[in-house]
Every structure is written in structure tokens, then in C-alpha cells.
């Protein structure tokens, strides 16, 4: 509560602009180009990973933690959740009869 910094939050603004660019970029590529399905998937997949990186570095204070151990736990936990959600979903949705 005590310390208000008057520094302009440049990294937040930049991060915000980058995320907007990446989001609209992905939408543009998916909707307005005639690239093949595979290429589109690769491009927007890459943009998604970049987006996640920007969120982590620009907004999630990844670099600021004084406490290394906590950070490591957080990152491991985050990676675990991502793997469960993304890989898990792809596996569940594409195995067996579900896709046919």
C-alpha cells in the first residue's frame, strides 16, 4: 500500500500490445489466408507459445521472484498443468472411437 511507483509501466504496455498483435495475427492467419491446414496449425501453435512466453515474462513477474525455490515449484506446477490440459485433451480426444 505504501509504495506507489511513478515509473511508467512500459513492459506491461508493450506486453499488452504484443499480445494483441499475436491474437489478431492468429485470427487473421486462420480466417483470411489460404494456407494449408497444417501450415496454419503450425503458425498459430507457434504464436500461442510466444503468447504464453510474453504473459509469463511481461505480466507474471517471472523474473522478479526473490525466492528461487518457490519459483521453481510454481514453474513445475505450471508445466504439469499445461501438459495435463493440452496433451491430455489431445490424447483423450483423438484416441479410440471418439474421433470417428
Amino acid at each position: 500500500m505504501e509504495k506507489h511507483t511513478n515509473r511508467f509501466p512500459i513492459s506491461h504496455v508493450l506486453g499488452f500490445i504484443f499480445s494483441l498483435i499475436l491474437t489478431f495475427g492468429a485470427a487473421f492467419i486462420a480466417l483470411k489466408t489460404n494456407l494449408s491446414f497444417k501450415v496454419i496449425m503450425w503458425i498459430i501453435g507457434t504464436l500461442a507459445v510466444l503468447q504464453a512466453g510474453i504473459q509469463l515474462f511481461m505480466f507474471m513477474h517471472l523474473r522478479e521472484g526473490e525466492d528461487g525455490k518457490t519459483n521453481v515449484i510454481n514453474i513445475i506446477y505450471g508445466v504439469f498443468m499445461t501438459v495435463v490440459i493440452v496433451v491430455g485433451s489431445i490424447w483423450v480426444m483423438s484416441a479410440g472411437h471418439a474421433t470417428h
Binding site: 500500500m1 506507489h4 506446477y77 504439469f80 498443468m81 495435463v84 490440459i85 491430455g88 485433451s89 490424447w91 483423450v92 480426444m93 484416441a95 479410440g96 472411437h97 471418439a98
Partner: protein, 658 residues
Amino acid sequence: MGIKWNEFFITGDPLILGSQIAIVLTMVGIVAGVTYLKKWKWLWSEWITTVDHKRIGIMYIISGVLMFFRGGMDGLLMKAQTSRPEMEFLDAQHYNEIFTTHGVIMILFMAMPMLIGIMNVVVPLQIGARDVAFPQLNALSFWLFFGGAMLFNISFVIGGSPDAGWTSYFPLAGKEFSPGIGNNYYAVALQIAGIGTLLSGINFVVTILKMRTKGMTLMKMPMFTWTSFIASVIIIAAFPIFTVALALMTFDRLYGAHFFTLSGGGLDMLWANLFWLWGHPEVYILVLPAFGIYSEIISTFSRKTLFGYKSMVLSILIIAFLSMVVWVHHFYTMGSGPAVNSIFSITTMAIAVPTGIKIFNWLFTMRKGRIKMTNAMLWSLAFVPCFIIGGVTGVMLGMGAADYQYHNTLFLVAHFHYTIIPGVVFAVFAALYYWWPKMFGFTLNEKIGRWHFWLFVIGFNATFMPMFFLGLDGAVRRSYTYSVESGFAPLFLVSAIGSVILALGFFAFCYNIYWSIRHADRNITGDPWNARTLEWATASPVQPYNFAKLPEVDGLDPFWKMKKNNEGLTIKDSDIEEIHMPSNSGLPFFMGVVFGVAGFFLVFEWHIAAAIAAIGIIAGLIYRSFDYDEGYHIPVDEIKETESKWRNVEGEVHNYVK
């Protein structure tokens, strides 16, 4: 915008007309009552704008009790409809709407606020803190939850209820098969309440990590704090999945997207997948704090330290981990193939192991203890056998191959009521009996409590036990009627009678609250149960700043030790210092209202109006960013006076426990 006013209010159903009249009369009654008693100002400054974690907790609990009433009425209506074969009390559509709202309300607007309310009241006290980490955010959580809950609740009189089940599976829940606006309520109201829950999760993680009093290391935290902490961690992990899934649903329903809509190449089962990626952890978010409640109560009334503290902590961590990797057990029959189903069968059944550890720890805590049969303890005792029935049938359902037989039958319905009612509702009752004096300064009546207990427990078993057998005989869930030839009639009748007994139990509880408010003795100590943790080391009801001097801790059961060694129980005048408190704020309430209004417009797909209302949200955010309120200080004299009022009081009542 093409408003169809004739579809706005639901008309033509006597039951709903009755409720509409009842709602209007109640609202008029409340407004008139508050005005007559001149309580508006008090309501505004003491409750609506409060940022005090105890009051916010109490508001959560009151909302939870009201929602239990609403959800319970839904349950009774369903039981009435199926009490005899071919009943014509509710039609199919109405039955669909009722089981949907029953499920959603019970889980998200009854169980969640009850537990978050109890966490709010108890956790900061247990860790010896003066408040949660972000008091105003806490109020925002409450008002967002409340806004979402109210929005969902009006659906049955304005516009129509959602009717695709609490799971709202696509394709049924899509525009194509549910063209009305009912399911928009589901998508929007749960989104709003979900934001509130997520914020609560963040708040409690920070509170528990950063605000523990001196000496309380992680492994010295009371068990309820531990379970609340892990539940909050799971909230942070799981709720964003639901947020995203609901957003995609909203796009599909409102803006013609095709994430889950088959016709446009969407993947309907992806909804089920995402829903349960959130949904299964959600049930552990509910049951973990409940486990913590039982741990506190069993240890207090056995007069013993909790048995196997470390194994308790370990088993919560394992449960938290496993809870993230079992979600497919809700849709084995989707047919993901043997590899997927086998893996998820194994992870599912593995959860029984840490849960079993906990059960044994509770039993060993009681072993050789001097057990006091208070109501709180009775609920904890009843929990054990009832929950075991739920757990064992859960392992049966967890086997993918066997689930093809049980899936979608009343066997499943019986199973999850057997886990969720002992696992959450019993725990909430136990917690209310136990912590009631902390919240209000008087205990609930033990005798009326006995009626509440026996009626509820007997009614609960009579209602849901028959459903196991009905399910095994092939009675499907979510079916509004059955034929005479099916032979289901006797068991359905038993179940219906059971639900009436259960309802009587709930009324005994309401009567108990009423009776105790009127007649209970106000002259109680801070520690009516001879308990062990820090929340009992201060006054009942708790003063706004919780502790005049923050306690220091060097082990489990700190308050027990303080009493035993007779240290830290008194306070010297020189120890008292000014206390810094956060100011009240009307902003959280305002945000709840604009979110509710914007959500309402969105439900009706009045996009321009919704956009205009959303400006209010942005305005609120901007206002908050420039809000430099530093709070206020409670002067030493005022603290001294408050403290002298509850310390060293003569003639306190000590005989609640007979």
C-alpha cells in the same frame, strides 16, 4: 434488439406463477421491513461495504443456506414427481430444468459459498492474522459470486431455466438443440460467479503463504488451513479451464462460433472433456476443506492431537495431484478406447488410497480419546460410514469396464449424493455448530440440533440408498417418469418419503437458528469447546481486528499449549499498539451489480445494452486503480476497552457440552 416481451416472463405454469408471486411478496416484505426498522444505513455501512473477512464469510454462509433451500426445493419437487409411476406433477421439460438448476445451485451456489464462507471466517483466525491478504478483493469475490448466483436464480421466472443438465453437454446445450435463452444463463452466470471464486482462490493462497503469525511454519498449520490452502491451489489450477470452456460456449451460443457445435466442424465431446477437467478437481475443492473441518472437530472433541499429521498433509497433496488426472472417468462411455479408459481407471481407483489413509487417521485420533458427543462431533461420526459407502461405490464406478453398466443410472446419482452430502453438507453442518459461537457469540441449541441430526441423517439414507438399487435395476437418471411395469415404484416411494424426512431435518436446523438467536445464552467465553487452535484464543464473536496482539506459535495445537502452560492468555496494556485496518468500500458491491446487469443483457443477447453496462465494469476498474485509500487506525484506548470486555469476565457459561 427484437425483444419478445411475451417470452420475457415465464407464464402459464401455476407452480412458477406461485413462485413469482412469492418472490415479489418477499422482496416487498424485505424492503418494507428494512425501511420500517430504519436499517438501510446499518445494512450499507456494516455489511454491504464491509471488507472484514468474518462478515464476508457470514454473508457467504447466509447465501449458502438460502441456496440450499432453493436447491433442496428443487430436489423435493423431483422426488415428488417420481414418487409414483406416471405422475403428472411436472412435465418432462420442467423436470429437465429442475434437475439442471438443482445441480448447478447445489454445487456452485450452495456448497462452494458455504465452504468459502467458512474458510473466510476461520482461516485468518487459525493462522493468527488480522485479515486476508487482499480484503477488498475478498469483498469483490463475494459480490461477484452473489451477482452470478442471483442472475442464475432469476432464470426460472424471467426467460426460462437452463435445461441441459448441470454438465450442459453439447450438442444438446448448443443453439441448435436448445434455442431458448435458458442456457445462456448457464454460460454467463457461472462465468461471473467463477471469476469471484478464482479471486478467492488467489486471495487464500497469498493469505496462507504470507500472513501466518510468527512461528507458524507450513508444517505447524492447523489441518483446516492446510486443506483450504490446497483447495485454493486447485481452484487456481482448475477454474481457468472452466472460464475458457464457458467463454467458448458463450461464443458458440451467442456469436455463432463452432467450437463445440458439430455442424461447423466443432468437437462436441471437447466440451465434456474441458468441463470435467474442471469438474473433477472441483469436487475435490469441495471435499478437501470439509476433510479439514472434520480433522479439527474430531481432534477437539477427542481431546487429542490429530493422529498422523504428516500423513494427512501428504495424502492431501496426493489427492490434489491425482484429482487433476482422473477426469475421463466421467465419460468412459464416450469410447476413447482401452488405453485411455484403463489409465484413467487406475488413477481413479488410486484416489481411494490417500482417502483411506485419512479415514484411518480420524479413527486413530478418536482411539482412546475422551470423546464428547456434541452435535459437531455427531456429524463427523456420521460422515465416516456414509462417506465410505460413497467412496466404495465410487471405486465401482471408477472401473471403466464396469461403468458401462452403471453409467447414466440412478446408481451414479446415489453415489455422488453419498459422497457430496456426507462429504460437504455434513461437514458444513458440523462446522456451523462448531464455529457458530465464534461467528455470533452464542452456541446453537444442542437438543434441537439432535433432531436436526437424526432427521437429516435418516432421511438422507432413506432417500439415496434406494437409488443404488433402482440404478442397478436399470432406472436411468434425468428421467422424469417410469412405468408401472418397470417395478420401480416401491423403491421410488421409499426414496420420496426419505426426502421428506430429510427436509424436516433441514427445517429443524432453521428452527434451531431461530430459537438460538432468540434464547441462547450470550455469556460465553472465547473458547466454549475447550479447543486447540488459535481462532479460540480470541473473543466470541471476534473483534474486528481479530487479535489485540498477534500470537506466537511453536507447534501444533498452539492454543491448547497456551492453556496448558498458562502463557500468552493475558495481555499487558503495554503490549497493545494501534492497529491498521482497511477501509470499507462500496466498489465491490457496485461491481457485483454491474456484472449482474451486463450479464443479464448478455443472456438476452441485447448486445448494445450489455456493452453499455460493461462500461460500468471498466469504470470500476479505473476507479480502483486510482484509489489510494490507506485505511485507518484503531486507537489504543479503543482496543483496551474492547479487550477488557471479553477477558476476565466472571460467570461465563461452560456447560454446553452435556
